[in-house]
Point group: D2
Chain length 268, copies 4
Amino acid sequence: MTTDSSLAPTETPATGEQPLTSVGVLGARGRMGVEVCTAVNAAEDLELVAMVDDGDWLFNVADAGAQVVVDFTRPDVVMDNIRFCIDQNIHCVVGTTGFDDQKLATIAGWLEPKPDVGVLIAPNFGIGAVLLMRFAQEAARFFPSVEIVELHHPGKVDAPSGTAARTARLVASARRAAGLPPGPDATREADSLPGARGADVEGVPVHSIRLTGLVAHEEVLLGAAGETLTLRHDSFDRASFMPGVLLAVRQISGRPGLTVGIESLLGL
Amino acid sequence: MTTDSSLAPTETPATGEQPLTSVGVLGARGRMGVEVCTAVNAAEDLELVAMVDDGDWLFNVADAGAQVVVDFTRPDVVMDNIRFCIDQNIHCVVGTTGFDDQKLATIAGWLEPKPDVGVLIAPNFGIGAVLLMRFAQEAARFFPSVEIVELHHPGKVDAPSGTAARTARLVASARRAAGLPPGPDATREADSLPGARGADVEGVPVHSIRLTGLVAHEEVLLGAAGETLTLRHDSFDRASFMPGVLLAVRQISGRPGLTVGIESLLGL
Amino acid sequence: MTTDSSLAPTETPATGEQPLTSVGVLGARGRMGVEVCTAVNAAEDLELVAMVDDGDWLFNVADAGAQVVVDFTRPDVVMDNIRFCIDQNIHCVVGTTGFDDQKLATIAGWLEPKPDVGVLIAPNFGIGAVLLMRFAQEAARFFPSVEIVELHHPGKVDAPSGTAARTARLVASARRAAGLPPGPDATREADSLPGARGADVEGVPVHSIRLTGLVAHEEVLLGAAGETLTLRHDSFDRASFMPGVLLAVRQISGRPGLTVGIESLLGL
Amino acid sequence: MTTDSSLAPTETPATGEQPLTSVGVLGARGRMGVEVCTAVNAAEDLELVAMVDDGDWLFNVADAGAQVVVDFTRPDVVMDNIRFCIDQNIHCVVGTTGFDDQKLATIAGWLEPKPDVGVLIAPNFGIGAVLLMRFAQEAARFFPSVEIVELHHPGKVDAPSGTAARTARLVASARRAAGLPPGPDATREADSLPGARGADVEGVPVHSIRLTGLVAHEEVLLGAAGETLTLRHDSFDRASFMPGVLLAVRQISGRPGLTVGIESLLGL
């Protein structure tokens, strides 16, 4: 386990002599962008030097001397943003969605002639959610049974959630690697209602609950003879993504090339 | 709220002068029957006078002077047992399954010429489970959203469980009575996997989890703007049914006629 | 169970012909007042006719024709506000804190010559929290063991919370009424750390958790042989108090005199 | 992550050709010993060759050709048992309690002239409990707040439980290593009841709940701005320790020398 205190979610007071890292935010007026600006401003070792959104010049971030750019924009503009930053030798921390293997390969190509520049693209900056997935994956091979419950506000359109589906696939993969058979289940179709046993994601049942009052919650239940292990993550607020974003901002200059996900930054 | 201490699940010490109630057990060697015999033996105000099972004479319970009989037998013999007890002026507490409206009507007919005899038939003697259903029903009309999760060992063949399905119907009925529309749900079929949103029981989603290590558990989640109320019952052991059985044994002599369910005994 | 759909937390569409109820809000610029104004505006059967705060004339609410006033002000001004409203024949729904028996008696005295005016004073307008207390109280006598856990943000200064302490007293009272002995507990002081078993509130252990990320949560755990019943309320947002406030606003004209708490409005 | 399928808790079908491992059980008539005998009998790759308890000859296990001995006896006899096994070149898996640093050093000394013999001593063979501790330790440095709740049957004499106290110390150590300050807590003594905030174990609050119906349960709550991560282990039955015991039996021949705890066997 690393003892690097910069990983701690609290705002570690910077020692006076350490130079500040200059940060520019793209999509600064969006819901996530506003949170990022607030979090950067509150961090003593970071300085917010540029806030850019639709209608602003991208050159602002370069002119302002940003060393790192945080991008929470849109799939249709994020590739241009990343290319611009790489050209300008600015590291990128990207929370915008919509990346596929082809886009990732394109970015990797742009980075080849720039061995010092780092780009991190993460589908989820929530450290808690990432830990949940990691722990579920590690625990999976010790338990014959596993099921996932995800609970969200009723305005969500997809079921199961992307995070729950991803967790299920990681867990299923760990079970296959351990040679585990499917979880035991005596349910008889004739005695059951359709849907009762949830959605099947690579053999792992996933149940989606939609309830007024909830925000975003995920629970992994693992069972063995005489015991269960339950891992649960509750997210109440976008603020929960900021420690992960700041962690990436602080580490990206030391991680040249393309990084996908914040897992490798957590030192697990 | 009643203050009748006989409702308390602890074995209230009987005052020395109070005569003991004589109890016979039918199906005494079955899993539930064994538990009943143990529980009656441990109760200071009850006396176990007859244990009857396949191959024993039913007359034993009458000969032994049983005032109350507890029946955990089988659907194919329980009607004969009840008729015999009514004829002998013995009260019956019945946990055997398989009663429909017609059978209940038959029993009510048998009871007509016997105004002092009581028969109680209950699908569930678990006080916790009955309270859960009751509270869910009472709370339902205050919450736009409600979903039910039931969790059982993987040997269970039906999904959802009978108790969860019954809870869902009670909740649905309370919602209709309050004029509540269906719970909000923006799930789009195109973005979802089949089964993710659970089984539909009169408009209430019910999710069934099957996990090695679990026994029998039920959770009702109610949601309104900014808050949720969660009611959960965990049953680990058949012992959990005994307080309900003893409660019925103690009260049945004061409740002539046919009673279905233990709800009315709880004084709620 | 009542079928009065006006109890439902959704905004029941008012039938066109029904006259609107005119509502004034005192403390309209406070955190709760702002929520009340928003909720009244969103309700089709209510009309917000006056918003009053420090520096505004109290007469505004009378001049605007308010039939009901909602008061979320301060202990040092609320008695004057209530007196004024009673004099003007305006019903009062009061969420301001700090009432003791003497103040309640004073208000009852003011109401005597005004048999048509209603004043409702509630320490908690959260319907979920009130239901939790009610259910815990009803269930208490059936379980030998009961403990309470309350979980809040770390900025809270009191422990246990007022709601948890009140729940504990209600539960303890129900247990005494049922003749239940103290919950079983073999803990030996020599083998224990101080505080491990929580605070003692009339014999009921109460545990207070303070965690960054949490808002306000309460859990009542009830245990009997082989089973547990858990009742949990999670409150994420002040919005959760609004259904209770609106319920009171709608019912207060039919409830002359002094009412304490919203329990009696819930039709339980 | 290892893909060694022998770690899986299910009884992996042994390939027909693989020779069976011969196992002797010391303390075979004790509660844990009986479970171990049952589990060894059920495992296709293990053979139970000797069951020894008070009054039986220890030589039986050697005569029967045991390659591995499992010891669930008593602190006053376990050291003799271990010495005997080492002398006889039999590997030991020990669940008996009461080891301190001096005893461990003595055993290490006995093992020096026997480089092929392995002894594993574990305070807890529950894989779920060990995983919980491990995950809590890994997650600790990412969360400003952490508290622990442990829940047990009311017959338990110590509070907090040994496992919860150990978890708290591991978490506290991980927080110190990360330079985390104490968790935020605005509780004022004047507004609080003694014990409400739990026991203090190296700065981590631990709360102990004792409830009829429960068995052994532990929950670690971690909180950061806008999110919480909850890790919970529920143990219902001694059977839950058997996968850990069998895992040790299968691996001990490949792990000469002294091993404390099953953590290193889990391949985490």
